[in-house]
């Protein structure tokens, strides 16, 4: 599945500024909004925080996948952000999040939404792939790396 189709230079960042989890989620949501298609920021944020409250989306190895289903979007929307310093994210392994991937998917429409998340997760499951992503200096570079066929 070509998930990079939903990503643009506006929706990726190589320098997230936030130092804490709630601020990071807001910053990521603003990246998603920059790509357009989100009708209601407050509703989207509430859905994201609701999902985090059930269980943190901080995975292992510095990856975090905050995501939610919400009426605020009609199609899958996504953003990818890099935090050079790392953000405490209540992760499974306690490591701060460095690679953040956010998805918003419509509530009552079928589509490969969780699959999308799982595919990105798998793409970044090797240390080498994560190192390449973390080495990106500009949004264009990050996008190019994400679009490379999985090595």
């Amino acid at each position: 599945m070509d998930f990079t189709r939903v990503l643009t230079e506006e929706t990726v960042s190589v320098a997230l500024r936030a130092g804490e989890k709630p601020a990071a989620i807001e910053e990521m949501l603003d990246l998603v909004m920059a790509g357009g298609g989100v009708r209601d920021r407050a509703a989207a944020l509430a859905a994201l925080l609701d999902r985090e409250a059930r269980m943190s989306t901080g995975m292992q190895h510095g990856m975090a996948l905050p995501h939610a289903k919400t009426d605020a979007v009609d199609h899958l929307r996504a953003a990818v952000g890099i935090s050079p310093e790392g953000i405490p994210f209540d992760s499974l392994d306690g490591e701060p999040a460095r690679i953040l991937i956010m998805t918003l998917s419509p509530l009552n429409r079928t589509g490969p939404h969780i699959q999308f998340l799982a595919e990105i997760g798998r793409l970044l499951s090797s240390p080498a792939a994560r190192a390449r992503v973390l080495a990106a200096r500009t949004p264009a570079e990050l996008l190019a790396i994400l679009r490379e066929p999985a090595a």
Binding site: R54, T110, P112, I114, Q115, L117, A118, E119, G121, S125
Partner: protein
């Protein structure tokens, strides 16, 4: 020579009724009624009381009600229900037409059920095993024909025909035994099922060649090797070309069918295309069943395959017993009695051919003696394709009644003998030699829920989340509940036993499976909190308790 051929057989019905089809149709409907009832009854009895595949009972029911036995007796006011014509084919073209349609439907479904990915992944061991069985089976059939004087030379159509019948393998019969013992995923199980598919594919192609040879050599003279090779080559080229075109365009056809909007309509259109290809293949001198099988094979990769199968399976459940019953009706018990010795020898040789021909390559591919025997026995039951081949042999004049009887008898006996032996062989340890790696790694997610009720509820929710992600969910079995979930090349198996849910898939897709189940469990947490507020049913309104007593 060709009693069923189009121009050779004018519409008997119209002639008999002098233009009024009414009485003839009434007879036909009564015949179908008797066939349906007898086939179902026979199948049910053998399944229930003898614990044998239904096909055995359906065939025997056919022999009993056929024109040579009960069907030939005169019914007051009607005459014999299945009168035996003075010469030629023992049953009417209408009945044989229904049987032909059933066989095409059956082969189309068999093609649809072929798992190409599995086929390609395991084709190494599977094709060696399948081909080993084919070579010895062909030799066994030809040898039997020569020894019993049924053929003058090895290329005599009758000899080739016995060889082809001997080549067939059943996919369904070993599949059921393997599923009962939970060995479908085992290396032996996968090898048997792939090998059986390969045997059937080549069996169908070989049958096509034999029919072509028979048509060419009607003078009784041996067909020269060169011409035979040319015909075989032509059959193989057509087969390969159709397969390649089919596999390449399968998804496109699938998408076009999906665009029709209704799955029932898509299923009928797909069957229509299968019949169209069958007719086209026959017109170039090959067997029709090859066309039906190929279209099914082409569509087997599309993710809507289960959805097309469902309505067609309903039709097949009605028609296929009719086919087996009609095959039984074609058997003349007197002729069968005459070839009983040859038939028994043919059965023994056929069993040996598969056990040795399939077992030996398996042994070379890393199976131990136990594994090799399991595979050989699993490949032994000749199923539907052998009977279809037998029917085509008789109707096209390649096989006489003796050879036809031997072929059907052998197919029947192997179906009776092999499954219990296979079941017995499956007890016991690994069939692999030490140090041989098993097949592609699979991942399993097992969840133990606090109660069976909750597990059943979650099972439904997991299916829903996959459907929401545009996967196709299909029930393989109701008790115990087993579901196959697929999209493109992803295949998951979802099972429920007591309070345990198991989701298995190739390791490559484990991350998707985990994520899906995790998300569903998290949303279930919400539901649990909401449910906790349900403790007092009165609070819901509706006055559930008030008016109970």
């Amino acid at each position: 020579m060709n009693p069923i051929g189009g121009e050779a057989m004018p519409l008997v019905l119209a002639a008999a009724g002098g233009g009024d089809l009414g009485p003839a149709m009434q007879r036909f409907v009564l015949q179908m009624a008797v066939i349906l009832l007898a086939a179902r009854l026979g199948g049910r009895l053998t399944e229930r009381w003898l614990r044998l595949p239904a096909v055995v009972g359906e065939l025997v029911a056919g022999i009993l009600i056929g024109p040579y036995l009960l069907g030939g007796w005169s019914v007051p006011g009607l005459g014999p229900l299945f009168p035996l014509p003075a010469e030629g084919f023992p049953i009417t073209p209408e009945l044989y037409a229904i049987a032909t349609l059933a066989s095409l439907l059956l082969l189309f479904l068999a093609g649809l059920e072929t798992d190409i990915d599995l086929f390609l992944r395991f084709s190494g061991a599977g094709s060696l095993v399948g081909l080993g069985g084919l070579v010895l089976s062909m030799a066994a059939g030809i040898g039997t024909a020569l020894v019993f004087g049924l053929a003058d030379h090895a290329l005599d159509p009758a000899a080739l025909f016995l060889g082809v019948v001997c080549c067939a393998a059943s996919v369904g019969i070993p599949a059921r035994v393997l599923a009962e013992r939970r060995r479908t995923d085992s290396p032996e199980g996968v090898t048997i099922l792939t090998g059986a598919v390969i045997s059937d594919v080549f069996g169908v192609v070989l049958l096509a060649v034999v029919i072509a040879v028979a048509r060419a050599g009607e003078g009784g003279e041996p067909v020269p090797w060169l011409r035979l090779g040319g015909m075989a080559l032509r059959a193989v080229v057509i087969w390969v070309a159709c397969t390649v075109i089919g596999v390449v365009s399968g998804r496109r056809i699938g998408r076009a069918l999906k665009a029709l909007g209704s799955l029932d309509v898509a299923a009928s259109v797909a069957l229509g295309l299968a019949l169209l290809l069958a007719g086209a293949i026959e017109s170039v001198g090959l067997a029709m069943i090859l066309g039906a099988y190929l279209l099914g094979f082409s569509l087997s990769r599309t993710d809507m395959v289960h959805e097309i199968r469902r309505p067609l399976r309903g039709a097949a459940q009605v028609l296929v017993p009719v086919f087996f019953c009609v095959m039984g009706m074609l058997i003349d018990p007197a002729v069968l009695w005459g070839v009983v010795g040859a038939g028994l020898v043919f059965t023994a040789v056929s069993l040996a051919a598969k056990v040795v021909g399939c077992g030996l390559p398996a042994w070379f591919r890393g199976f131990n003696l136990r594994g090799a025997l399991r595979i050989g026995m699993g490949m032994s039951p000749r199923g539907e394709v052998a009977l279809i081949a037998a029917g085509i042999g008789l109707s096209s004049g390649v096989a006489g009644p003796e050879v036809f009887g031997m072929a059907v008898g052998m197919a029947l006996l192997t179906v009776v003998i092999a499954p219990p032996v296979l079941a017995r062989l499956l007890d016991g340890g690994s069939g692999l030699r030490r140090g041989v790696a098993a097949h592609e790694p699979t991942a399993e997610i097992a969840l133990d829920l606090p109660s069976a009720d909750l597990a059943e509820f979650l099972l439904g929710r997991v299916q829903r989340i996959f459907r929401d992600e545009e996967f196709f969910v299909h029930a393989l079995s109701d008790t115990p509940p087993v579901f196959q979930i697929r999209k493109d090349d992803m295949v998951f198996t979802l099972e429920l036993s007591e309070a345990r849910i198991r989701l298995t898939c190739p390791k490559r897709f484990e991350h998707i499976a985990r994520m899906m189940v995790l998300e569903e469990l998290l949303s279930l947490k919400d539901l649990a909190e909401a449910a906790a507020q349900l403790r007092d049913p009165a609070a819901l309104g509706g006055r559930l308790v008030d008016r109970l007593f």
